[in-house]
């Protein structure tokens, strides 16, 4: 069973429907016990970092997420979920985040009038290093993004994929041991996005 963590950061229907489509059982939950007993954890989310962190604290979910990660469960971050696993975000006047991966989250700065913020739409992901969850997917495939802030891990070794926007080549896929986190939405990225979810649902959490 996969636990999809519900911390009131956006609508989780599309994530749930994507797993339904590939025939994988999942449980949308805010219950720390259900997260603890799940085989795998999906940590999605849209919205703002400040509110997301407040919700996670108030709902008592910070420890569940940390222990899910430290017990070696396959862990998938998506969009805002990917941002708040870093240490700090510039959003909402500066927000302390969970700190599962060293690094920060910065706001895009539009270099000109035709460069729109948010970064919304399909953009290419260049695979920097192979990963079991990316198996069967070509390098430079396009995925669906919607975000105004981007993750900046402190060490290149955490970067699995990169994407170029607003004059920066940001980390669009981050990996650390049993954690994989995408800035894009695999659940909204058509057949190849579903392939990522399918690979994740079979991944044992090892990268070697």
């Amino acid at each position: 069973m996969i636990a999809i963590v519900d911390y009131h950061a956006g609508n989780l229907t599309s994530v749930q429907l994507a797993f339904d489509h590939i025939g994988v059982l999942c449980d949308v939950t805010s219950d720390p016990r259900r997260i603890a007993s799940a085989e795998r954890v999906v940590f999605p989310g849209v919205g703002a970092a400040g509110q997301a962190m407040r919700n996670l604290r108030e709902m008592g979910l910070l420890d569940s997420l940390k222990s899910a990660l430290f017990t070696g469960k396959p862990f998938l971050g998506i969009c805002l979920g990917t941002q708040v696993i870093l240490e700090f975000s510039e959003e909402d006047g500066g927000t302390e985040c969970i700190g599962l991966v060293p690094g920060i989250v910065k706001r895009f700065v539009a270099p000109n009038a035709t460069c729109k913020i948010p970064h919304m739409g399909w953009n290419t992901v260049e695979f920097v290093r192979p990963h079991p969850v990316l198996e069967g997917i070509d390098d430079e495939t396009e995925f669906y993004f919607v975000h105004s802030y981007y993750p900046l891990p402190s060490d290149e070794k955490y970067v699995i994929g990169r994407t170029e926007y607003a004059g920066t080549r940001f980390a669009s896929i981050i990996g650390k041991n049993n954690l994989l986190a995408t800035q894009f939405h695999p659940e909204r990225s058509g057949r190849l996005g579903l392939k990522i979810l399918e690979n994740f649902s079979r991944w044992n959490g090892n990268v070697d």
Partner: protein, 260 residues
């Protein structure tokens, strides 16, 4: 160089669970089943879809939520839904059913606070402003376009560019600029209108109305500075496939999604 691709968005106008298409909002003919067409276009490589329940508003009934649920079950790319949205709860129902975005048009003109509230509660990225500007020589409209509502039936006295900027300030995440003059004509998008709005706001602008050939799309993406474009007749009639359109765009140097 990699870059954000231009989105091609088929528009499905739905009436009584059938996709329909008219010219300047009139003379509609039925084209097919919305669920089947959504699957075909998604598998054919479109980047997003938009559904308008075109009679919900006039019939004072809520949007067809069951249809939204069915669409969300069968396609896994973003889609927007509009028509018949009257309240925050209507927006919530559409998003909860699995739509990525909800599109408001007439409602936003009558009650602009609804877009501010929707953006605050659900996030800007969920709230799309649809606008139907019509050309005018009246000097009261500096952009040369006046906003109409209720499918061109009612003029509002609001300038198109002013409305776009105001909507951005209120928190909408994207603007669909549907030219009333070009709608259904297949003679090309309104390039000036699209460019004027797209270069004056910092949120994505979707061109709509008038697309008939891949050349029209290339024009609106380059000269018109559109971030995305809506197509309807040109694929509903099977005159073009999405793959053909994208191939032509790529040849013209427009970045498009190639793998699906």
């Amino acid at each position: 160089m990699e870059m954000l691709t231009k989105r091609i968005i088929p528009c499905l106008d739905v009436r009584n669970r059938k996709v329909t298409k008219g010219v300047r909002f009139q003379g509609n003919v039925d084209l097919g089943d919305p669920i089947e067409m959504a699957v075909a276009y998604s598998e054919g490589g479109c980047d997003e879809l938009v559904f308008y329940d075109i009679t919900a508003s006039a019939e004072y009934r809520p949007i067809d939520i069951e249809m939204v649920r069915e669409v969300a079950r069968v396609i896994h790319i973003p889609f927007a839904v509009g028509g018949g949205i009257r309240s925050l709860d209507d927006m919530y129902q559409v998003l909860l059913a699995g739509a990525e975005k909800v599109s408001v048009n007439s409602l936003a003109v009558k009650n602009p606070s609804i877009i501010a509230e929707g953006a605050k509660v659900f996030g800007s990225q969920c709230i799309v402003l649809g606008m139907d500007p019509v050309k005018t020589d009246d000097p009261r409209f500096p952009s040369g376009y006046e906003i109409t509502i209720r499918g061109f039936r009612e003029r509002t006295g609001i300038d198109a560019l002013e409305w776009a900027k105001r909507a951005q300030d209120l928190g909408v995440g994207e603007i669909v600029v549907n030219s009333v003059d070009a709608d259904g004509t297949r003679q090309g998008y309104e390039i000036n209108l699209t460019r004027t709005i797209s270069t004056s706001v910092h949120i994505p602008v979707v061109a709509s109305g008038g697309g008939g050939t891949p050349v029209h799309l290339a024009e609106v993406f380059t000269e018109g500075c559109a971030d995305a474009a809506i197509i309807a007749s040109m694929i509903h009639t099977s005159e073009y496939t999405i793959a053909q359109i994208k191939e032509e765009l790529a040849k013209a140097g427009v970045p498009v999604r190639k793998k699906w």
